[in-house]
Subunit: 356 residues, 2 copies
C-alpha cells in the first residue's frame, strides 16, 4: 500500500538509515504496542528479541553471542564503554579509567566519555585507518577498553581489528568493534572484523542502518551474556528481576522489525545490497574523479570527495540531503535506497552548479 511519506528518500544521500524492508515495516506495525523492557508482560516480543540476537550474532560470526536490541548505535557504544569501566572495578585496579579509540570513532564515544566520566584518548590515523602503534602509545595501566571501527562514519574504512584486539588484551583491556554501519556489508568482503576473525569482546551492529530494520533497532553484542552483567540494575516492580539496557521501556516494533528484516534479507538480500552499494560507490567515485575532483577511493559503499563548500551549499539548496566530513569533504553513503538514477541526477546537478 502506497503511503504518502513525509520523508522522501529520493534525495537523501546523507543518512546511514534507509527505507525499511517491507517485512520489517509490517513486523514493526504489528508489534507497535509492545515493550521488551517488560518481558514478563510482553512475552512474545521478548522471545523475538532472543531470536534477533541469535540472527545478529550469526551476521557477526558468533551465533551464540549475548546481547540485546538497543535504541541505537550510540547506546550500544555507551554500554560497551560502561561494561569495560564497571568490569574494571572488580577485575582491575583502576582509579581513572581511559578508553583508546581511533580519531575516526563516532561522536557517540565523546558522549560516552562525558556520560560515564571516563577519559577518551583518540589515536591518529594513517590512510584513514587507525595507527595501532599510536594506540599502544596512548594506552597504559588505566586503559579499560580499546575500540576499532569496522566501517568508519566518514570514510567507510575498516580498522585492523585483529591487531587492536591483541593489543587490548595485552593491556588487560576489553576490545570493542563499532560495526554499527559496516556490520551488514562486511560479511560479503574479505575484511577481518568480527567475533570469528578476532578475540573481540563486544560489538555495535545496527539493524536500523544497513540492516534495513526500522528505527529504533541498534544492536549490542557480547562474546558471552555474562559480559553484560556489569550493566545489570535490579527492577523491583517488574515480573523480571533485572535489566542490562540503558533505556527502560523499549520499542518492540524495533525488535520485531530487526527479525523481519534479517529473516527476509540474510544473507542473499544483504549480499545484493552490499554489492550494489559498492558498485554505486565505485561508479560515483569514477564520475567525480573524471571531473577532476579529489576522491577518497571507496573501500566500502561510502564516498568522500573534495568539493567546494559553495557547491555543497548549492546542492543542499536543490534539496539534496548530503553530509560533510569534519574536513569539509562531501560524503555520500550508498544505502539500499540510493539508486544509480539518483546518483546520475546528483552528478547532473553537480555539473550544472559545480566549479573547480
Amino acid at each position: 500500500m502506497q503511503r504518502a511519506e513525509p520523508q522522501d528518500f529520493a534525495r537523501v544521500l546523507s543518512s546511514m538509515c534507509t527505507v525499511p524492508h517491507p517485512k520489517a515495516r509490517t513486523a514493526a506495525e504489528r508489534f507497535l504496542t509492545t515493550n521488551p523492557g517488560d518481558p514478563g508482560t510482553y512475552e512474545t516480543v521478548a522471545a523475538l528479541e532472543e531470536k534477533a540476537i541469535g540472527m545478529l550474532g550469526a551476521v557477526a560470526g558468533h551465533p551464540s553471542a549475548g546481547g540485546y536490541i538497543a535504541s541505537g548505535g550510540t547506546e550500544a557504544n555507551i554500554q560497551a564503554v560502561r561494561i569495560a569501566r564497571n568490569r574494571a572495578r572488580t577485575h582491575r585496579d583502576v582509579t581513572s579509567p581511559n578508553v583508546v579509540v581511533p580519531e575516526s570513532a563516532h561522536f557517540s564515544f565523546t558522549k560516552a566519555a562525558d556520560v560515564l566520566g571516563i577519559e577518551l584518548r583518540r589515536a591518529p590515523l594513517t590512510d584513514y585507518r587507525v595507527d595501532t602503534d599510536a594506540m599502544a602509545a596512548l594506552a597504559d595501566e588505566e586503559t579499560v577498553l580499546m575500540v576499532g571501527v569496522a566501517g568508519t562514519t566518514e570514510y567507510g574504512r575498516v580498522d585492523p581489528i585483529p591487531d587492536i584486539a591483541t593489543l587490548a588484551h595485552e593491556y588487560d583491556a576489553l576490545c570493542h568493534v563499532d560495526a554499527a554501519w559496516g556490520g551488514f556489508v562486511l560479511p560479503f568482503t574479505g575484511h577481518e572484523w568480527n567475533f570469528a576473525h578476532a578475540p573481540i569482546d563486544t560489538m555495535t551492529i545496527d539493524p536500523h542502518k544497513m540492516g534495513q530494520a526500522v528505527v529504533p533497532a541498534g544492536g549490542l553484542l557480547a562474546r558471552t551474556q555474562e559480559l553484560l552483567n556489569p550493566l545489570a540494575i535490579d527492577t523491583p516492580y517488574l515480573e523480571s528481576t533485572s535489566q542490562v539496557t540503558l533505556t527502560g521501556t523499549r520499542s518492540g516494533a524495533g525488535v520485531a522489525s530487526a527479525v523481519g528484516a534479517m529473516d527476509a534479507l540474510w544473507p542473499e538480500g544483504y549480499r545484493k545490497a552490499a554489492t550494489t552499494g559498492q558498485e554505486n560507490a565505485e561508479w560515483f567515485a569514477n564520475e567525480l574523479s573524471a571531473r577532476g575532483y579529489a576522491v577518497v577511493d571507496p573501500v566500502l559503499p561510502l564516498v568522500a570527495a573534495d568539493i567546494p563548500h559553495e557547491t555543497i551549499r548549492k546542492l543542499r539548496d536543490r534539496d539534496w540531503r548530503i553530509s560533510k566530513t569534519s574536513s569539509g569533504e562531501l560524503r555520500i553513503v550508498m544505502m539500499p535506497h540510493v539508486t544509480r538514477e539518483m546518483l546520475t541526477a546528483f552528478v547532473s546537478d553537480l555539473d550544472r552548479i559545480g566549479q573547480k
Copy 2:
C-alpha cells in the same frame, strides 16, 4: 483495520504503557522511516518535535518549556541527573556530587547513579510520600539535584513538589519532577506538581505512558532550553552542529505519535481517561476492601493491595499480567485500556482462587 495483535492488552494490568490512540498509531506508521536525531535530513519530523515539546509543556504548565522527546522516562531521568551533575562543574564547587531522591523513586535513578558516577541518597517516606525533613537531613553542599515524584510507580502518590523545589534551591541544587506516568492525569486533579505550581527545573513526562502515544516517546522538559546545554555533544558530520540527547538516531514514529495523541486527546480525552481511571481505581479498591484485603487507597489511578503471594502466582497462571510492589503487594495500574469488565473478570478470578 483490525490487526492481529501479538500483545493482547485484555489481561494486562501491570503496564504503565497502553494501547496507543488510533491517531498516534497512524502518525507513527507515517513517520516510521524518519530520524529526528538528524534534523538537517529529516526536517518534517524535526519540526514536529518542536510542536510536541510545546504541547507537552502546555500539559506541564509551561508552554515555552525546553526539552525533547526521549527514548523513555529512564533516559529523561538519567539526563536530568546529568544536567545537574555537569552544571555543578561550572556553577558549583562540587567534587563528589550526590542526588537526593525519595525511596519511592523509580529504579532508573539507580541506573543513573551507576551510569553517571554519582551518589544516590534515598529519603524515607511517610504515608507513601517523601519526608522532606529527611531529604534535608540527607542533603549537603555536594547535593546537585533533588527529585520529587508526581505519581509514584508503586502507590501512585504525589510528593510535596513545592516544598522539594524550595529545599533544593536552598542547597543550590536543581529540582527535578518525575511525572513520567502521572503527568497526563495530574492536570485534572488539585495536586501541585508542575512548572506553574513550583520553581522546578526539569521534568520527566512520558507521552508513551498515560499520553497514549506509541513506544518510544518519553519526554524531558526543562524550564529553559539553555538548561539542556550541559548535555550538548558536537556532531561533526550531521548538518546540525550538536545534540543534547542521550541516544543518537531516534524514532520519528515516537515523536509523530506524541503529537498525534496530544492533538486528539488534550485536554478532554485525557480528562476522560483520568476520571475513568480514578473511578476504576476506587471501584477496585472497594471490591478488595469488601473482601477483607488491606488496600492502599488510590490517590491516582493505581491500586496496591495486600494479596497472598500464592494468590498472585495463581492469578498470573491464569494469564493476568500483574505486578508487585517491592513489599510484595499486588499493584494494578488503571491505564486507558483497563475496563470495568476486565476488572470484574479479575475480581471473579480472585474470588475463585483467593484465600484469606
